[in-house]
Symmetry: C2
Subunit: 591 residues, 2 copies
């Protein structure tokens, strides 16, 4: 050594000397995974080979002595799985519990968009997610949320403009800007949106542009947006692919696109695809897993197992510019998964950076404690809140949000209202419930009230602090008293989801972290969620997951009718409308 090099380089040199000595066979490896079939995603091959690991890296493929061995005979050795786009908040788990759930399923890297918590807590939400993902046996990278607040049709809890994101963009675990949902703003050249794109231009920018085609799509991509996970049809995905986008096929708990898009994947274009989960509910996570379940599904649909693995390893690595992740080769991080087969993708063991972190479905690594959430989740301005009354006259009709089974879209219905003593009421006999959004971040006392058809329940109320994207309290009920009881119950729990009957909470899930995430073990959260859904069914609710439907009722970007803390929103015209339709009845509204 010349001694003139800076300390960092000298350390790197010393580390390299160890790696090289092990690789050439002069020192024993830390670990050899012996006798397995290696899935080589670089060449698309699978062959028998031993993998030697030292200093957290793969150092060699071949014949090596080691301090420790893992017998992988009859098993497959694959790179750790990558989820290139997930909202961890959708799992309702804090990152620590999320890691405990997904690492034993083979996930070693995720790229998370903290869009939900940032819409509640602003920059504090980003800070929390970075702190809560520190030291996990899972690498969690963040994309900076691009749409906080999501719209101007509700009272924003937080606001993140380009200059607010700027301090975060150079964080080593921040990879760029998360899905730019406001695609119209990009295409129209809105300065506030383009400023965020400019800020992230040296990093990655993820897209979100369902159905965008032609010149508008050109504009969106030319602005510097490199991926999309919202394709639902082959023609749309083909156009995006041809125009340079990485197409991440989303197979979430809600939206599932593998079936529709896999026919487009060929050997010639496979390197431009990925598979991502986007949203993954706690019950699915506990019962079916994470990327392993997506692999299972992709292979069941006919994708070659090695290609399927490429889509969740090498390809996201290429997209994000990681050179030492997503494959098994000398110099790569030793993020390995040992699998029983390439059909069920049952995971026997997982190494993260050369350390055994999961075995036979259980995490074996230590987990750091979760940090305290930055503040309490519930700030309801009771002193400013009135009743949930909707003044109306006998014979009035009103706008009613019509749920559509198995879809996020709603229909704007005009229906005769049940009116009593000058007020419109829920009407369980006609499956019309009252719905309210109660602002919970800044104690404004804002409450929006409306009606909804399709939940099917006969009594009681359901309420949740998970209500995209502003995550105010949303409550639906057959009875105002039960609705208030539900809101009060959530306030006591510090956020969460609840089912109420006769003024009593009959089931609940507490989500004290921003009203979005539980601190409980993931198994407990999943079973509490199941009990909650059962309670909803007991109230007469016929839907598979009424809380999911509820959580999207306040998202004023999906047509046709939504509700925010400021009232009903006609999404097609992007404006608020009153509940009582009155003279508008003639406008041709459907029933």
């Amino acid at each position: 050594m010349t001694g003139r090099m800076p300390k960092g380089e000298a350390d790197r040199t010393a580390a390299l000397q160890r790696v090289v000595a092990v690789a050439r066979g002069d020192e024993p490896a830390d670990l050899v995974v012996r006798g397995g079939k290696v899935v080589n995603v670089l060449t698309g091959e699978t062959y028998a080979a031993d993998v030697a690991i030292a200093a957290g890296r793969v150092v060699g493929i071949g014949d090596y002595a080691a301090r420790e061995e893992f017998d992988a005979r009859g098993l497959f050795v694959a790179p750790g799985f990558v989820d290139a786009h997930i909202h961890i908040e959708s799992t309702m788990l804090v990152p620590r519990e999320f890691a405990r759930a997904v690492v034993p399923r083979g996930t070693t890297t995720v790229v998370a968009d903290p869009h939900e918590i940032a819409n509640v807590l602003g920059a504090d939400g980003i800070a929390y997610m970075l702190a809560a993902t520190e030291g996990l046996p899972l690498d969690v990278f963040l994309m900076l949320p691009s749409c906080v607040p999501p719209t101007s049709l509700e009272t924003p809890a937080a606001r993140l403009d380009a200059e607010d994101l700027e301090p975060w963009i150079s964080h080593p675990r921040v990879l760029g800007l998360a899905e730019v949902m406001h695609y119209a703003g990009v295409v129209d050249g809105e300065a506030a949106v383009l400023e965020k794109l400019a800020l992230a231009s040296e990093k990655r920018v993820d897209g979100h542009a369902p159905g965008l085609r032609g010149r508008a799509l050109n504009a969106y991509i030319a602005a510097g947006i490199w991926s999309d996970h919202e394709c639902t049809a082959v023609a749309e995905a083909r156009e995006k692919l041809r125009k340079g986008m990485y197409v991440f096929i989303r197979e979430g708990s809600v939206a599932k696109n593998l079936d529709a898009l896999l026919p487009l994947v060929s050997r010639q274009n496979a390197s431009r695809f990925g598979i991502v989960s986007d949203d993954r509910h706690p019950t699915d996570l506990a019962a079916q897993g994470h990327m392993d379940s997506l692999l299972r599904r992709a292979v069941a649909l006919g994708l070659s197992p090695v290609t399927a693995l490429q889509l969740v390893t090498l390809n996201p690595a290429q997209y994000f510019g990681w050179r030492d992740r997503g494959a098994i080769a000398p110099g790569y991080r030793a993020d390995l998964v040992v699998l029983e087969d390439l059909k069920d993708f049952r995971v026997r063991a997982v190494w993260k950076g050369g350390r055994l972190v999961a075995r036979d479905g259980r995490l074996v690594a230590d987990l750091p404690a979760s940090p305290r959430p930055p503040r309490e989740a519930m700030h309801i301005g009771w002193e400013r809140i009135g009743a949930l009354d909707v003044p109306a006259a006998e014979g009035d009709s009103g706008w009613v949000i019509g749920l559509v089974p198995d879809q996020l879209a709603t229909r704007a219905l005009v229906l005769p209202l049940r009116v009593h003593a000058g007020r419109a009421l829920a009407d369980p006999a006609r499956d019309i419930g009252k719905v309210a959004v109660v602002e919970r971040h800044r104690a404004t006392g804002n409450v929006g009230v409306g009606f909804v058809r399709g939940f099917g329940f006969q009594a009681g109320a359901l309420a949740s602090t998970v209500a995209h994207d502003s995550h105010n309290v949303i409550v639906v009920g057959a009875d105002d008293g039960d609705m208030w009881a539900a809101v009060r119950a959530l306030e006591r729990m510090g956020g969460g989801m609840v089912a109420v009957r006769n003024r009593e909470a009959v089931a609940s899930v507490a989500l004290p972290v921003a009203g979005l995430m539980a601190e409980e073990p993931y198994e407990a959260v999943a079973s509490a969620m199941e009990r909650l859904l059962e309670a909803a069914r007991a109230l007469g609710c016929s839907m598979a997951d009424p809380f999911m439907a509820l959580s999207f009722l306040a998202l004023p970007v999906i047509p046709e009718l939504r509700i925010t803390d400021r009232g009903l929103v006609d999404v097609t015209r992007l404006r608020h409308i009153p509940v009582v339709a009155g003279i508008r009845r003639a406008r041709g509204a459907r029933t």
Copy 2:
């Protein structure tokens, strides 16, 4: 605009607004290439489409109005070609003339290793190459030379250790560390080599490891080396590919590996291959072209044209982490080539960053003047130089460098010497010439003298300042007087190549830039080179290119016998040996 963003971001935002406005169709594009078939290397498809360009970028594929149109009916539109590994010095052209030669052939980006000039001028050579590539209609990136000096068996003109390279590593046009030829040093963990790897660990490190396999290869790769362009056989290339290396198939003027390696390229692994030129002589460049000729050859050998194009566009872009180069899609740099077909790859027009730079084989862009070379190339220590005498006795045998036709390897021969008046002499009748290396950088007066068999010439002398890798003067001749005349001629020319007969230079190429590169137009250099080769033939020289053979005689890393300014080198044992074999004759030397 909020006005709170830094100036750079504000400029980027304004630029994006223009791009987006053109892309969505509200403003005319600068240029539309209309009616051609676009080669989409992202999806492996070819289809009819118009390409719209604004602000130097592709903004859209589709229907656009533009200020200017190019009629590409009946033609193919492909991304500009990338040469991922070339030594520009091998073309004997300064970068300006190199650009003039290759841009009309479709090359828009090259990654150059200034190994030769750095071995002559050290860091000044790097500075010169960066200055000389500024403002060209060709993007030239550099890899920092990793082997200066190449060995310790000669007097080094320059020395670049890690700390000398450190100031250059963050230059925006420096992509990393160039081919690490000292692979034994890497595998053995030599600190001086690993320090260079550590320095470049955040960037790319190119490899050069002919024949390296097994654990030694693991060690080499694990040290952080990501590519290799020295594979000559399928088995070797397959192993390197499997172990994560990008395999750049080299098809140079000297070494040609396409034929041997193309059978390995499949749709599954094609994305891990490239094609590079490495060394390209001026006559080949002028007569056959650059990457276009490599494409022609690859397709003639059976590679699909679109795959061939991927190997010289998208794949090098992926390797180097360029996200906006190597394909035609919105947001990508408008580096385009219009081709007559995908068989002969005849180039009709080339755009660089949206600017038409070549048309019908001629450069149409302005070129900046070449910078002055940092210093004179010739520093011969005449006052310290003696004669070229080799003292010997009647009946002595001596070590003779035996050329092998069409190979760089030589054989170590022991042959009876022709001795007169106590000195060994050249012996044209037996095709034995005298060879000498005269140190020319530091005026040391060092001269190494030996004998060589195989040039075949009968009279005169040939000399050159291109003599890998230290680039001293190498001279071979039938007669000491002609040899000195040749060295004197080179000194007068300021470096170059010369053929001498009867003490007169009969043909020459002046290479005043470091004794390696001409400042003349490339056509003039190519014809001067042809005249020089003709002159060599007139001297009786039967080889196709004796100057090429000459230039490798001083490279003491290729077996078996070489010569440096310090004398003969037995490369197998890495040590100097005397000319007169004397008592060593019994050692079983071959004749």
